[in-house]
């Protein structure tokens, strides 16, 4: 509970700053409206206007809050205007992509640790893959997959996997290599096979590393799904909401979709953190 006060302070500061920026950024529009209507704006009238514009440059927090309320609580979740509906679509693609990413990441990590050749030959490519801007290649991947008649959710999952496997590889390689020489020598004195060393030593030792990279990977896979939805916007999803919002200048909608995505990411990281705690505790690695 002690940690709640610093967190609240930071949140309050962010909101205060947000309001200040909303006023500053939206003021020109408020003045130009007043000019056309040929009325004088007092300062307080101007401030009031900056927080109630229909298409503000930066919507005020309460506007976004109201929009989120309207599109979650007040809409049926089957409605195409419901954020929950779109969030669910994004979450499914994220989960699929994350699962792919974890699978691919672990597979690559295991082979990198076991085969020196893999370490030398594949690792540079893995790193190079992450330097390619995903926004640029996502549409191409989507087109190619569409030509191969792949389901749209799988196509989104592939982009999501592309971003999420990387932290898993890096974390798992580090984790699988974390047992020191002494522990490995000890395995040798038991004349253990390399698969026994893997299952009994390397894999359990990598658990804390895996969880750390899963948290990074979860956020990355959400970004991947949202980016993919920009190219596959006909199927909905938070990315589609972002795109539609920017088409029509609906900044409030953009911001509420952004906040929804952030909430989703936070939720996933929180769930992973809970699983981590329980797992490590049951493994005896957290005291």
């Amino acid at each position: 509970m002690k940690s709640i006060f610093p967190i609240l302070t930071v949140v309050a500061a962010i909101f205060a700053l947000w309001y200040v920026f909303a006023v500053v950024l939206n003021a020109p529009w408020a003045y130009s409206k007043a000019e056309r209507a040929e009325v004088e704006l007092s300062f307080s009238e101007m401030v009031a206007d900056t927080m109630a514009q229909e298409k503000p440059r930066l919507p005020a927090p309460h506007q976004v809050g109201a929009e989120i309320w309207k599109t979650t609580v007040e809409k049926k979740i089957t409605s195409k205007r419901s954020l929950i509906y779109h969030g669910w679509i994004t979450l499914q693609a994220t989960a699929l992509g994350f699962a792919f990413g974890i699978g691919l990441g672990i597979l690559l990590a295991v082979s990198i640790v076991h085969f020196r050749v893999m370490d030398m030959s594949v690792m540079p490519w893995i790193i190079a893959s992450q330097t390619v801007p995903i926004l640029a290649i996502a549409p191409m991947i989507v087109v190619v997959l569409a030509a191969l008649q792949v389901d749209d959710i799988v196509a989104k999952g592939v982009i999501s996997m592309y971003l999420s496997f990387f932290p898993v590889v890096v974390g798992m390689v580090k984790g699988l290599r974390s047992p020191d020489t002494m522990l490995l020598d000890q395995m040798k004195t038991y004349s253990a096979s390399s698969s026994q060393t893997f299952w009994k030593l390397r894999l359990p030792a990598s658990a804390p590393y895996l969880f750390a990279s899963l948290k990074v990977g979860a956020a990355a896979s959400l970004i991947g799904a949202v980016v993919a939805e920009l190219s596959l916007s006909q199927n909905g999803g938070l990315g589609a909401r972002l795109l539609a919002g920017s088409y029509y200048g609906q900044t409030i909608q953009i911001w509420s979709a952004l906040l929804a995505a952030a909430t989703l990411a936070a939720l996933m990281v929180f769930v992973l953190g809970a699983i981590e705690k329980v797992t490590l505790k049951r493994m005896g690695m957290a005291q």
Binding site: M182, T189, K200, A205
Partner: protein, 260 residues
Amino acid sequence: MSETVIQAKNLDLTYQTNDGPIHALKGVDLDINKGDFVSFIGPSGCGKTTFLRAIADLEQPTGGKLTVNGVSPEEARKARAYGYVFQAAGLYPWRTIGGNIRLPLEIMGYPKSEMAERVAKVLELVHLDGFEKKFPWQLSGGMQQRASIARALAFDADILLMDEPFGALDEIVRDHLNEQLLELWARTNKTIGFVTHSIPEAVYLSTKIVVMSPRPGRITDVIESTLPRERPLDIRDTPEFLEIAHRVREGLREGHAYDD
């Protein structure tokens, strides 16, 4: 005569490093008989660990001949001829004490029914009964070290190799563990190779004390203990004990003088 378990003949072991070769062992000759308790003592860097690791097939000799149970160290290792206790306890944090002791048994494919029995037996041997379900972090350093000894005893290896197992422990705990180790040795009749820096510890425990000196690592003296096998702690005050300790100290000093 009793049979020779470990035999080194003119053994060399040179490490190739970036700063040139390091002669960790040079011309080492040694016979260890079945049931011996052999201590290796000598200044830091004289090759004690290297020798133990060579016996365990964790290092490859670069010259001479080394046999364990009459075969090469590699064959002996594959036949699981020895248990090795490292300087650090090296318990797996995600396994309970019982689980840690079960580890080698699982790897060696002992039947499940037998495991529980063996775990209970070795825990009793190191006086850790009742700690089977505890995790390593719930035990003191000395208890962890005992658990790691128990783990090396759990399977049927006639040889026990120990590299400064009590190095990090205080004097009192050390005395206690030394007593227990002797008792254990008497009960199991294993051949023990034991590395230490402590003269009293070496004299108290051993039937044979190997004094080594560095650069290049070699054996300067092998002392057969005249002490009886039955050794209460206060044997350390007897003249006989002090005489052996004196000879060990002389041997160590000679090795050092060689340095200058």
